[in-house]
């Protein structure tokens, strides 16, 4: 299940960064997931709760911002929303469409709690 190994990479990345910042725990993680990135967000959330056990991110809430795909026609240069890789240009009918957004898969930010003194 690649959502599991991906959830582990997220935990690893935020946990390391949070430690650097002297966090006691991570309360929230903001992800950007393009609709063409091949990530099932429900499955990712499910795996995340298992992957984060015992890490600083154990109680973190995953906030996922899903970005729509955008294609650009290489023939007539118009751009338009796409939900699949096999989009057809609505202007000229060309199949030579380049994906210009929707493949993102990023950790945007996280919220940590510092040790209260």
């Amino acid at each position: 299940m690649h959502e599991m190994s991906i959830a582990l990479s997220i935990v690893e990345a935020v946990d390391a960064k949070a430690r650097e910042e002297g966090a006691a725990k991570i309360t929230g993680i903001d992800l950007l997931v393009g609709r063409l990135s091949g990530i099932e967000t429900e499955s990712l959330k499910f795996c995340f709760s298992a992957a984060s056990k015992g890490s600083l991110a154990e109680d973190a809430v995953l906030a996922i911002d899903e970005r729509e795909g955008t294609g650009e026609c290489t023939a007539c240069k118009s751009s338009f929303p796409v939900s699949f890789y096999y989009a057809e240009c609505p202007e000229c009918g060309s199949l030579a469409v380049s994906i210009i957004s929707g493949e993102e898969f990023q950790i945007k930010s996280m919220t940590i709690e510092e040790e209260g003194e």
Binding site: E58, Y85, Q106, K108, I112, G116
Partner: protein, 277 residues
């Protein structure tokens, strides 16, 4: 538990070599080990909390910007592999397909031809068994098996580790057979020069539309088992059209590993890459 050495290693991949049942190396990719380490510190921290009386045990909240690719670590390692291949003039190909499309059969059939011109080595990815590595070993070329266990794809770390175990020659060809899976391996760059996706005539000509990410990422598509075309309801031209819709840069080959039809064009394509290098 590992059934070869009885160690308690769970998850993580294992490297094996055919004809050497003693040899196996446990590798952990995505920081499973780290999570264990953290477990300790976490509980220590709690003890600490209980030992003192804090006024604000919940502490202060702070937002930290990261802007980091989730697959960053894999991608960085893949680039290191790529640098290693380039420096040593090694052409690395990543073979991808659903289970049973004929990845290993294609290698078995073409390696004896290719190795007359260029040294060839193979990395085999499967969840379990050394069956595929055994088949390659029988050809007499260096091979290492990566058993991914529950993992559904090879990643750059597994390849990086395998490279240390395989004594690759300069100016050679490395074939990497990924785990049979038309979904997940598409996301993980290994550092290869080209991704080669194989589809066979028993799978349905709409596969490229059903699994677009894989065909979108691939550089070359090979339609295999063309000897079965008279018996199956599979339109090769439509399959190609579907694949081109997903990726208009895709190079297309049609072969039958069984009859040998179309294989010359494929081996010539590889030889051109090896020579150009």
């Amino acid at each position: 538990m590992c059934d070869t050495c009885g160690c308690s290693s769970e998850g993580g991949a294992v490297l094996r070599k055919p004809g050497n049942s003693e040899y196996h190396v446990h590798i952990t990719g995505h920081g499973n080990g780290h999570v264990h380490d953290h477990d300790h510190e976490h509980s220590r921290h709690h003890d600490h909390d209980h030992g003192h009386t804090h006024h604000h045990p919940e502490g202060h909240s702070r937002k930290i910007a990261m802007e980091q690719d989730v697959l960053l670590k894999n991608n960085l390692l893949a680039e290191r592999n790529r640098g290693y291949f380039e420096a040593r003039n090694i052409v690395a190909l990543n073979f991808l397909s659903s289970p049973g499309s004929g990845k290993t059969s294609l290698l078995e059939k073409t390696i004896p031809v290719l190795r007359q011109h260029v040294p060839v080595a193979v990395i085999e990815g499967d969840q379990q068994t050394t069956n595929d590595a055994d088949r390659i070993h029988a050809l007499g070329v260096p091979v290492i098996q990566v058993n991914t266990g529950s993992g559904c794809h090879l990643d750059a770390f597994m390849i990086n580790r395998s490279l240390r175990e395989l004594d690759l020659q300069d100016n050679s060809l490395l074939c990497i057979e990924n785990v049979g899976n038309l979904v997940c391996p598409a996301m993980f760059d290994l550092g290869e020069a080209l991704k080669v996706v194989i589809i066979s005539t028993t799978e349905g000509d709409d596969k490229p539309l059903k699994y677009p990410a894989m065909f979108h990422e691939a550089d070359i598509c090979i339609l295999n088992k063309t000897d079965l075309l008279p018996y199956v309801d599979f339109d090769a031209a439509r399959c190609r059209e579907n694949a081109m819709r997903v990726n208009h840069h895709l190079e297309w080959f049609e072969v039958s590993v069984k009859s040998g039809e179309g294989l010359d064009a494929w081996t010539e394509r590889i030889m051109k890459m090896v020579k150009r290098n």
